[in-house]
Symmetry: C2
Subunit: 358 residues, 2 copies
């Protein structure tokens, strides 16, 4: 593999956001929307969700240029109850649709205690935890479910790829500790991680994917010849299916055979579905007491006696939390190959390239 | 191992329910409550949840006799919002507390579209799917989360057993197909399955448990010398933690160090927590269209091309559904060792023993 795959450049969050925004504006996305999506995409890289941040920009741009995204959407409510709603994204960039859904869920949870908002005609919206985290600042907790944008998972025992990695994220506020933030694909590896391995020129570990003969598939560049494995065998298959029913079918979005592979097809409307659940801590007691309980629990877990060879016990979201702090100060590392792709994109769009700070 | 472990007797659902009810009444549970709990416990065995049905009766009885259960509880609301509530179970049998929570959630979801009800001072309530299924008949779907009643799971990389198997269940209505019902511990095996293996005199497969040296633990009678493994490694640890925070901490119930091992301690109030989420299909569109979509998806999955050696692709809950039909007609098989335990219990309580139909 080329040396470039192991080197990386470093970019500032602001520089990354502005570059992404420039790219979107160059293909006709209104400035305000471009900035909003760019901020969320840069936040993905800031927390180390490197399969879901700026790495997706070239594909988003390709889809916009191919007419597969509505640049001036009318994102609107389809149906509403005191604590639920369905948002029709009108084929907008997914980040815009889901942000609207989360804002609405937070408003509804203030009154009702809980709220569930689903989306339809949305698109890929980046890492699940971006959205599960948004209620945290309101003394609320968030759960997020999404239908993945390409089917890489067959039913357990099967070979037809009818399911996606359908992620689950949950974000729970703590007091002095970082929030507990789970963000997981229901497969052993998310497809974004497969793409990131390919970009870095690395092989996949055994257990991520198998081929159609049931043999381990290790080369990420051959990922279209096999499928992902679910966590816990039949359990992960069940989870992926339930998440898809909740985030897709329930909101009237695509699921199963209807899911469009947005890696291969840049034009067809994906009708992506997501769902956000928000719970207001105030509806269950004193939020400060809740957060103190979370702190105690987190500290108990971290201080557990360790198995031989284990240096530290991590809480879900703790490593992302530390990366957010480090990368905000020192900049976000980008693989050289990705940086080169973005330079090419800048040239094609005739925009100012991404400035690296190192 | 003794021959008795492989033989089994067969009992009718009604006979099983009435036997369980007699046992509860004999130790002072009011008739109506005894019948309600007995019906749910027999339903657990009817669907093949053999780790959570009548196998638990001797322990429940022991706990009641030791004063660890409130026989005449005042189950009441602590806090309420339009779409949320916290139910204080007053240390009643868990089945009674969770049933009340589910009924309330169904009522609230009718108006609000979604509802979340948590419990505190509840107790072990049997298999999660019993409760996730209850909204189905109202054209609603259910998600259920619970804190397990003994910690067998350390944080990932750790040895202190601070987490339980904390199960997740989801029940999604279909049309002509059986409902899609997921009921899974966040560990590779539920502890109830370990107990069932012990009762049947069978060894556990590798991957269920490890000992404190990190070595595979295969003998279910040595289960107290090791701990369960989470599904997907760190992912299952994260799921178990999130489920515990939602079902335990959020509702003011025990979590982490506070969890009482009800296998070892029959007296201390467990303060068990559970949570039910109910979504009304009518809040998201036409329930008939939703169910038709589920049917199509189920059929696509079932008809998938299969890996070599796979005879049939199952949907989550499909095997339980078939068992419900078969066992209702032909009776419920009980291992001979369990039947002997129940005969002993009948003698001790001076009640009519369980009549087997074969």
């Amino acid at each position: 593999m080329p040396d470039s795959s192991s080197k990386s450049s470093v970019v500032r969050f602001e520089a990354l956001q502005q570059f992404i925004a420039r790219a979107f504006v160059a293909v006709g996305i209104p400035e305000q929307d471009a900035q909003k999506v760019a901020a969320l995409m840069a936040e993905a890289d800031l927390q180390g969700s490197d399969g879901h941040g700026v790495i997706r920009l070239p594909m988003y741009i390709k889809r916009i240029q191919a007419g597969g995204i509505n640049k001036t959407p009318n994102i609107h409510l389809v149906q509403e109850r005191p604590a639920t709603a369905v948002v029709n994204g009108d084929n907008a960039l997914g980040h815009l649709v889901v942000s609207k859904a989360v804002d609405l869920a937070i408003e509804k949870a203030k009154t009702c205690g809980v709220a569930w908002v689903g989306t339809r005609f949305s698109n890929h919206a980046g890492p699940a935890s971006l959205y599960a985290r948004q209620p945290l600042q309101h003394d609320m907790l968030g759960l997020y479910f999404a239908v993945g944008n390409a089917n890489h998972l067959p039913p357990w025992g099967g070979m037809d790829m009818l399911l996606s990695t359908n992620p689950i994220s949950a974000a729970i506020p703590a007091g002095s500790e970082p929030p507990v933030v789970l963000d997981m694909a229901t497969t052993v590896a998310a497809y974004g991680k497969v793409k990131a391995k390919a970009k870095r020129g690395e092989m996949m570990p055994e257990g991520w994917m198998i081929d159609r003969q049931g043999q381990p598939l290790l080369d990420p560049n051959r990922s279209n010849e096999g499928f992902l494995l679910p966590i816990g065998g039949h359990k992960g298959y069940g989870l992926a299916l339930i998440v898809g029913l909740l985030a897709g079918t329930l909101g009237g979005a695509a699921m199963g055979r209807e899911v469009v592979d947005f890696n291969a097809d840049h034009e067809t409307v994906t009708n992506t579905g997501q769902a956000i659940l928000v719970l207001d801590l105030n509806a269950f007691g004193d939020p400060q007491m809740f957060k103190a309980s979370v702190d105690h629990l987190v500290q108990d877990l971290r201080q557990s006696e360790r198995l031989p060879g284990v240096e530290r016990i991590w809480l879900p979201g703790e490593q992302s939390h530390l990366r957010r702090q480090t990368y905000a100060q020192e900049g976000i590392p980008l693989p050289a190959a990705l940086h080169a792709d973005l330079a090419e994109l800048a040239q094609a769009l005739r925009i100012e390239p991404l400035a690296s700070s190192a």
